[in-house]
């Protein structure tokens, strides 16, 4: 079991109730879609996975470790086992493609001699060979997201978290990005992806957790039965 939520509730300081008594389990190697309207609690749930938010009540275990009781100094180690893909890519504009990816390795203290070969490897994997020295501003949206994904997987995470990764992309580009994520999942990485894109989810035949008003509305093996 990679992720366990037990009766997790979250009330923000301003009184907003984001999650209400959520329990769920995610196995190693799964691919999970997180669906639901805006304000349903998707973002809060996602942020709890990498401990940007902690629950007001309940327990969360990741790889059998409680992240609620975790010390602040232990959080970086937790996050090094995860990769995060953002809707707005969050690339550093003044760094090239290769530098953006290498940056993630530098940040976690990888050895300099390991950084170059691993960076080339993931650039090849996401199909950006030849664009190593381009800056984000010179790339299309789809290419930028590939850089984002390459950066997320460069440290070989156990868990890949994607928050609306195709939200800013057209349908064809979104499908390409999905293929890339499935590919990563096939190689063993657990993937949790929050999305609005019903079309993408339908064709995927993967587990779908639907949230509404902070609660789990449904947890299905695929969306087609709806």
């Amino acid at each position: 079991m990679l992720v366990q939520f037990y009766n997790v509730s979250k009330v923000y300081k301003n009184g907003v109730k984001a999650l209400n008594d959520i329990s769920l389990k995610i196995d190693r190697g799964e691919f999970i879609f997180l669906m639901g309207p805006s304000g349903a609690g998707k973002s809060t749930l996602i942020k709890m996975l990498f401990r940007e938010e902690v629950p007001t009540r309940g327990q969360i275990f990741i790889a059998s470790r409680s992240i609620v009781r975790m010390k602040r100094s232990e959080v970086p180690q937790l996050r090094r086992n995860m990769g995060i893909v953002f809707q707005d890519f969050k690339l550093l504009e003044n760094k090239t493609v290769a530098e953006n990816i290498a940056f993630a390795m530098k940040v976690v203290g990888s050895k300099t001699r390991d950084i170059m070969p691993r960076t080339s490897e993931v650039i090849q994997m996401v199909g950006l060979k030849g664009k190593e020295n381009s800056f984000p501003g010179q790339l299309s949206g789809g290419e930028q997201q590939r850089v984002g994904i390459a950066r997320a997987i460069v440290n070989r995470p156990l868990l890949l978290i994607a928050d609306e990764p195709s939200g800013n992309l057209d349908m064809n580009t979104a499908r390409e990005i999905m293929e890339l994520l499935y590919d990563i999942n096939r190689k063993g990485t657990t993937v949790v992806m929050a999305t609005h894109a019903r079309e993408l989810v339908k064709s995927a035949r993967k587990r779908v957790i639907t949230l509404e008003a902070g609660q789990i509305l449904s947890d299905q093996n695929s969306l087609e039965s709806l």
Binding site: I84, V107, V108
Partner: protein, 296 residues
């Protein structure tokens, strides 16, 4: 805390950030120059006031007028007795003849002969007594007054006590002034540095989510803050040094009654402390501003 293999990276990042945010760097350095300049001026003023006060205080002495009936042996014995008192620093005998001469010196007009005008010398023999701690002159004077053969003691009664009241408050106020200035400087620097950090908040957030430790993120900012701080301090020290030197050269004659401190090693220490203060303010300002952004 600092992984040695990252030092190169930390310095490179600090330099890149310095040149990239040129306008903010200039703003921070300017703020620092003004703060250190004010702080340095306050310190120099405090040092000068302190030395002036010390001089005033060390001038305080007790004049012990002796009975005219005393024999010369009794006078010598008395000196020993005074020296035995606790807290006495020095005892100097002033004979009546010498006292008259001293008085004569105050009438610079040579044509006016005191001894001729008065006829005979009306002044008594006296001892000039200095206390180790000028604050004890009152008590010491009271003790000496009890001794046989003492005609009168004089130490500026009332005036001395008031002087100590004034100097005590001058010291408290100047130290308070420096503390307030330093706090204001920390606040100003922290605000300016916060702007620089705010411009890079997305990068900091990203680093946190990738799994960077707080110190990995802090070091480049720290180095940047320390460089900005000591750079600003350096500029203000040059300005302050030039200003103070010209003050010494030009004002020494015009304002001779205010003796300016010109102790080379003391001034060097002041300037070095200001440099250290600048670096510290830069580091402290960065620390205060940065923590909020690290809380992810």
């Amino acid at each position: 805390m600092m992984n040695l293999k990252n030092i190169g990276y930390f310095f490179r990042e600090a330099f890149i950030s310095l040149t990239r945010n040129r306008l903010l760097s200039i703003a921070t350095v300017s703020t620092m120059v003004i703060c250190i300049l004010l702080l340095g001026t306050a310190v120099l003023m405090t040092i000068n006031t302190g030395s002036f006060i010390n001089r005033l205080e060390s001038d305080i002495q007790i004049i012990v007028f002796l009975d005219n009936s005393m024999t010369s042996t009794q006078i010598v014995d008395m000196k020993r007795n005074i020296e035995k008192q606790e807290g006495v620093k020095s005892v100097v005998f002033v004979s009546r003849e010498q006292a008259l001469q001293n008085l004569q010196k105050k009438f610079t007009d040579k044509n006016y002969d005191l001894s001729k005008t008065i006829g005979k010398n009306p002044l008594p023999d006296s001892y000039e007594v200095k206390a180790k701690d000028p604050k004890n002159v009152g008590a010491l004077a009271a003790q000496i007054k009890q001794m046989p053969g003492v005609y009168k003691v004089n130490y500026g009664q009332g005036l001395v006590e008031r002087l100590f009241q004034v100097t005590k408050w001058v010291r408290i106020i100047s130290i308070g002034f420096i503390v307030v200035l330093a706090l204001g400087a920390v606040f100003l620097i922290a605000t300016t540095i916060r702007l620089a950090i705010f411009a890079r908040r997305k990068e900091i957030y990203l680093m946190k989510l990738i799994g960077a430790t707080d110190w990995f993120i802090r070091w480049p900012f720290f180095i940047e803050g320390i460089m900005l701080g000591s750079g600003g301090a350096l500029i203000s020290i040059v300005l302050l040094g030039l200003g103070y030197n010209s003050l010494i050269h030009n004002m020494q004659t015009a304002l001779f009654f205010i003796p300016l401190v010109y102790n080379h090693s003391l001034l060097v220490n002041v300037y070095l402390s200001l440099l250290a203060t600048g670096a510290l303010l830069g580091a402290l300002g960065t620390y205060i501003s940065l923590n909020r952004f690290l809380d992810v």
